[in-house]
């Protein structure tokens, strides 16, 4: 009986030990490593010299074939930012802002005061700078009064008459040390012709005053803190014995920016970004075997700009590449953003832009029916929010065209 118990305990002990196996040990190669090795290679797909967007029966002649440039996804008045670009740049841009109407009485929600406004002391405009070229000093923002009915149909030329000295209401000096943050200016109510008791509204246009080419990008959505207008008023206290001051703010009812793009040369091929927020769709002619059978560990889309990148001098922007979920033209849905890649591009640079497509290959490997087509555009927060653009090279030029660089592992075969 004792022997039986001893063996039972031994068996239980063995069961407990059985689940504690060691996972991995250092290999002593080559003596005690598997004979097969991981084979990782690197290749460039740019072999065929042909015109760019000519489809063939088997696909596109180039490994990278632009399909088209499309706009309308985000319009300037819907953008998260708006850009003001000063003179001296190839492109000038001005911001247009219309604020909501203030109420005729005080609606600040403060029960310790009466709501009848006795006097409006001053008005303050606050603008949130999200980006600017910090190398330029002495930058100022000029505030002009513009029509209250300003809308998205206005062009740079339409608005030019409203940016004269006669409409100038104030200037705001941007501190040289300020790259990101709010700037504000305070005015007397009489400085604004439109801000009268009948309207209690204001519309402001912004332009840049600077000695050199400069730009300022302003926040235009909730995330980027859009401009606001604050009214400082005098009220009676609720007891009627004391006069007190209070303030209340209104935000933008409409905002946009207009650019003078007449001096910008038209792109030789397709253009990404700009004030229209254009997106380019590119079909990648990737060998099926590379997608299905190889393990792609890194894939890069290398795009040499045909000329220095146009835009606001000193600005940078983020270009994104994202695979399409399905491909049926401009309205094709995009894949999840986690499969995309990004690249920072400097305006004026002629350096090749490298966009990461590694995760797109993961997606394509896991789903064989997905098209090998990608979208090139600005990142969402910058789309249609600046004059910056990125031009694609003509794929017909063998010396200067976009190519795919793929680093991949061969299928592992034991014993080989």
């Amino acid at each position: 009986m004792n022997a039986v118990r001893w063996m039972a305990f031994a068996a239980a002990g063995a069961a407990a030990l059985a689940c504690q196996d060691v996972v991995s040990v250092p290999g002593s190669c080559p003596e005690f490593c598997p004979e097969s090795a991981i084979d990782v290679r690197d290749t460039l797909l740019s072999t065929v010299l042909a015109s760019s967007i000519v489809p063939t029966d088997t696909g596109y002649l180039n490994s990278v074939a632009p399909q088209g440039s499309y706009t309308g996804y985000v319009l300037p008045h819907e953008a998260a930012q708006m850009q003001v670009v000063g003179p001296g740049s190839p492109v000038q841009a001005r911001a247009l802002m219309v604020f909501f109407r203030f109420a005729g009485n005080y609606v600040g929600g403060d029960t310790s005061v009466k709501d009848t406004i006795l006097q409006t002391d001053s008005l303050r405009f606050t603008f949130n700078i999200v980006r600017r070229n910090a190398n330029v000093t002495g930058v100022a923002l000029a505030l002009h009064e513009i029509p209250l009915d300003t809308d998205s149909s206005r062009t740079f030329a339409d608005m030019d008459p409203y940016f004269q000295d006669s409409t100038l209401v104030a200037t705001v000096q941007v501190p040289d040390t300020l790259v990101q943050g709010p700037v504000s200016v305070t005015l007397l109510p009489g400085a604004l012709r439109h801000f009268v008791d009948d309207t209690l509204r204001s519309a402001i246009g912004l332009r840049i005053i600077s000695t050199g080419p400069a730009f300022v990008s302003l926040g235009a959505d909730t995330l980027n803190q859009p401009a606001r207008m604050t009214r400082f008023v005098q009220l009676d206290s609720s007891t009627g014995t004391t006069r007190v001051t209070r303030s209340e703010s209104e935000v933008l009812s409409f905002k946009t920016f207009v650019a003078d793009t007449a001096s910008v040369p038209a792109p030789a091929s397709l253009r990404v970004g700009g004030t229209s927020g254009a997106r380019v769709f590119i079909k990648l002619n990737v060998p099926t075997q590379l997608v299905d059978s190889m393990v792609v560990v890194r894939a890069s889309l290398l795009i040499p700009p045909p000329a220095p990148v146009p835009g606001a001098p000193g600005d940078t922007f983020s270009l994104r590449v994202l695979p399409l979920g399905t491909d049926f033209g401009p309205k094709s849905p995009l894949a999840d953003s986690t499969y995309g890649g990004y690249a920072k591009v400097a305006v004026g640079s002629a350096d090749t832009v490298v966009l990461d497509l590694t995760r797109a290959f993961l997606l394509w490997r896991s789903n064989a029916v997905m098209p090998h087509t990608v979208m090139l555009g600005m990142v969402r927060s910058e789309e249609a929010g600046s004059v910056d653009a990125f031009d694609l090279p003509d794929q017909g030029s063998p010396a200067n065209r976009a190519i795919l660089r793929i680093t991949y592992g061969m299928p592992f075969r034991p014993g080989r």
Partner: protein
Amino acid sequence: MTMRARSLGMLALLTLCGSAVARAQNSVYGIAGIGFPGEPLSERARAMGGGLGAFDLTSAVNPAAVGDLGKLVAAFSGGTTFRHYTATGDSAIGGLRETRFPYGMFGGPIPGTRVSFALSFSTYAERTYDVTATGTQVLRGDTLKVTDRLGSDGAITDLRGALAFRPWSRVLVGAAVHMLGGSSRLDVRRVFSDSSYLPYVEQQHLVFSGYGVSGGVVLRPTRAIELAGTARLDGRLTSRIGGDSVGTAQLPVSLTGGLRLTPVQGLSWATTATHRSWSRAQADLGPSTQAFDTWEVASGLELTGRGTRGTGIPVRLGVRYRQLPFSNVGTQPTETVLAGGSGIVLASGRAALDFAVERFRRSGGGAEEQGWHFSAGVTVIP
């Protein structure tokens, strides 16, 4: 079967079942070639170092031994290996464990005939390893540090169906067919020092198949002397991934001879020697893997005391020396095993619980590996 025997059997099965889940480590000598050769031995034969293999009716070495099965018998055994090794240029690696099902069989007489049968499964070659190696690779003009992890978890199994009969009272003759099967899960990874590169990850299911035949004889010229001989011819082992063949390897011809002496009742000494022509696989292996023919010699002693109703507790001792078939260098590795064990008979002889302890040492090719193998088996006569 008594309650006690039933509970012990269940406990032993639980021990075996709980062990197959975790990733494991087999011998460092199992990384090359088709793997580390298994031993189709019962617990009793294992405790005798394998010396009893050519005569043991519950081992899967000699199909003729099946002729001794007078009743239906089922036997299962499993074990755990604790191992450490040192390799050239590296510090010692210890704390390695592996738990597997090495062996199981079911057999007995075919009613109304003089023929007995046995079905068994055993490990033909173990293919479990998980090694990590570091190195460098130049990609896109940059030298990157890479860490490779190559893991394999599985084995080539040998499913044997054997028939044997006794043409004369002192002669057993048997034959068997062997179906080789099994699989291994490959997990291959490379991680780059530059996070711009995604890890290379490949997970594949490698499936093995092959066939073999064997035949054998057991002669008993006297009550004290037994002789055994068996030959096994295996064909080609095919490896497939997703139905596509990724390679074949020629398997060896195995020739086994044995001598067993029983000078007095309760004392038995058995020796088994085997030669396998593993070098036939050389043409199918990569250039860096060397395949060698192997010799294996095992000898063991069993002392059985006289207990009540024949339930005396035996003492088993044995030793085994064998050459190992594969190496990535020119030196052929070898293994030496010292074994011991015992067992108890339960349920009035209708069940038995055996255990074995083996101390092994493997060396050659720039490494030395030592460890313990603890195993236990249940034999049931329903």
